[in-house]
Each structure stands twice: as structure tokens, then as C-alpha cells.
Symmetry: C2
Subunit: 195 residues, 2 copies
């Protein structure tokens, strides 16, 4: 587990912060590594935007801000417009495909898209979209073991929602295991369709 910088961003109520906590716990408590999670509150929080910076490593983390994230998980268009350009060249971009139009891509990222909100609705609760995203993240990045992330998730959600969140995790994980990094022609088409 090399030092990996991750930004997770979306709007309030999507479970952005909880996603970061689950991944941080998985890395540290269940895979014996280290992590920091930093959450900024400010004008963007007043607008309903929400963003977390997560740094995961096998040694203590000395600087908790992400300058050029290796991985981004983006769940709203506003977050995409604001943060996408910070992604490290060749980094991995994970998006909620119904909420984010991927456009103006530079730096040749690998793009992974999932209709997490729809999949969560299929389970009866839109609010578990973050757990679908976390499952998808786990499958496509292979950064953390699925077992560690599931344990961290079971720890982190209210017990009455544990089963539902684990189902959502599995849904995203299974989707991710069969997913390929998005083919660029298709993504460009989506991009140009915007206005």
C-alpha cells in the first residue's frame, strides 16, 4: 500500500465523508496501514458541496492534504468542474455516471463510471449510493481488500442499516469487477454533448 492520495467529492447528503471514513478505517484498522481524512468546511459547504481528502499509506501520513490525487471519486457535476483538473496524469477517475458528465479530460486518466444512484434505488434506498461507490472503488482500484472494506463499513454505519449497506457494497463491487476503464471516444461524445 504505497502512499495514495484520494479525493472524494459530491454534494451534501451523498455520504461523501462516510465513504472516506470507511476507506480510511479499512486501510488502518483492517489492513494495518495509516490514513488521514481531512474535511474542509467553508463557502463550498455553505453551497451544499462536500469534499474529503483521504491519504492512505503503509507508513504514517505526514501531510494530510492531497495536492495531486492519484484517485478521484466524483459524485456531482459541480465537484467534477471544480476538482477534475487536479487529478494526477494517468490517475484514476471514478464517477457517478448519471450525475457527472465527463468532459475536457486532460492528463489521460483512466475513467470508471457507475450509475450508483440507480443501483442504490434498486435496493430501495437512494441514500446508500455512497456504499455502492465504495464497493465500485474497491473493485476497480484494488487498493484495499474487499474483506477489509466490508468490515470497516459494518463498523461505520448504524446497525439497522448494516445489511443494506453491505448489499450496496456488493452491488458496486460486482459492477466494478466486470467494468473496464471507460473508452475515450464514448466519453468525448458525452463531453461535447454538454452545451
Amino acid at each position: 500500500m504505497r502512499l495514495t492520495e484520494i479525493r472524494i467529492a459530491g454534494f451534501g447528503g451523498q455520504g461523501v465523508i462516510l465513504s472516506a471514513i470507511v476507506l480510511g478505517k479499512a486501510a488502518s484498522i483492517y489492513q494495518n496501514g495509516f490514513a488521514t481524512m481531512t474535511q474542509n468546511f467553508g463557502p463550498e459547504a455553505r453551497g451544499g458541496a462536500c469534499s474529503a481528502q483521504l491519504v492512505i499509506s503503509d507508513s504514517p501520513v505526514l501531510y494530510p492534504y492531497t495536492t495531486q490525487p492519484d484517485i478521484m471519486v466524483i459524485m456531482s457535476q459541480e465537484a467534477y468542474n471544480r476538482f477534475a483538473r487536479e487529478l494526477k496524469p494517468g490517475g484514476r477517475l471514478i464517477v457517478e455516471e448519471d450525475l457527472v458528465r465527463v468532459s475536457d479530460l486532460t492528463g489521460d486518466p483512466q475513467v470508471y463510471a457507475i450509475p450508483a444512484t440507480r443501483l442504490a434505488e434498486g435496493l430501495g434506498k437512494r441514500m446508500v449510493l455512497n456504499s455502492v461507490m465504495v464497493g465500485f472503488f474497491t473493485a476497480v482500484t484494488k487498493l484495499l481488500s474487499a474483506d477489509a472494506v466490508r468490515k470497516a463499513m459494518a463498523d461505520s454505519v448504524p446497525s439497522s442499516f448494516r445489511e443494506l449497506n453491505l448489499k450496496a457494497f456488493d452491488k458496486g463491487y460486482d459492477y466494478g469487477r466486470t467494468a473496464q476503464a471507460g473508452a475515450l471516444p464514448e466519453l468525448e461524445e458525452v463531453g461535447y454533448a454538454q452545451e
Copy 2:
């Protein structure tokens, strides 16, 4: 709202992180300031300890770690032993009085103690001790308005527990409005009583 560094620490399940989130939201969303909250995961998290660093300011926060906190909120002995010495000279130390023995004080802090767990149990749910602590914090530090913190709390807890957490806030707030910074002779006695 000058730049104020705060550390909140205790053990897992006490709501340490949620307390930091509520105060960060109050400062930023409801008082138009800025805040960052950083949570470290690592060996201490594996041991069940839990700590958050919160920086609140009326301008953007450039560095999210606390080096010498102005205020500490301590909810376990382990957290006290580990962090108390970092408090800024003349800073404010807020403790859960049944869980923390204050001893070996240096730097002449102002000490505020509250039996938050017992007060929370009096409301029927020990788990709201963090909201009692947040109310107490609000009253004794006067850093944030009670109204802003109540709103942030209402936003941050599950709706089924909203009333209970606000009651817990009020309990701690009322306790704090009548509290005085702990008289040192009494505290030293407690300190020497330890072994």
C-alpha cells in the same frame, strides 16, 4: 472568530468525530467562517482511541493540523495522558469528569469539567454524551453562538435522534453557563489521588 485550534479526543463510540463535524459546520455554514477537520487513522485507531483536529477561523485555513491547541476536549484517560501536554499555555481544557483524572497540569490551563456521560444517561441514552460535551463547550468557550451549534447539530444527526441530541446539547449548555473554571487546589488533589 480568530484562528482557533481544537483537539477533541476520546475512545471509539463516544462521538468524537461527530462532535468535531458539528462544531466545524457551526463555524462555517452558520457563522460564515472556515474550518477544517482532520482525523487520523493508525495504531491508535486500532486500539479504539479516536481523535479529531479542528481548526476554525474567519479566513481560509491553510494548515489543518493543530500543533498547540487553544482548546482541548478530552473524554478518556488515555487521550488525556497522550494529548494534555500539547495544550497551549493558558489554554482551555474541557474534560469528561468521570472518565478523566486531571493531573500533572502544566501551562496553567483553565479547566472545565462535566459529568457528560451521567447527564446523557439521565436523558436515557449514554450515546449522546458527545452532544452534552458540545453544549458545554459552546457555553464555556463562547467561541460559537449556541444557535449556530444547535442548527449544525440538527443537520448532522439522524432525524430520529434530533430531539434527543438537542436536549443533550441544552443539558451541557446549561451546565456550562453556571460552571466556573476548576479551582486548581481541588484538581491537584484529584491528581495526587491517582495511585
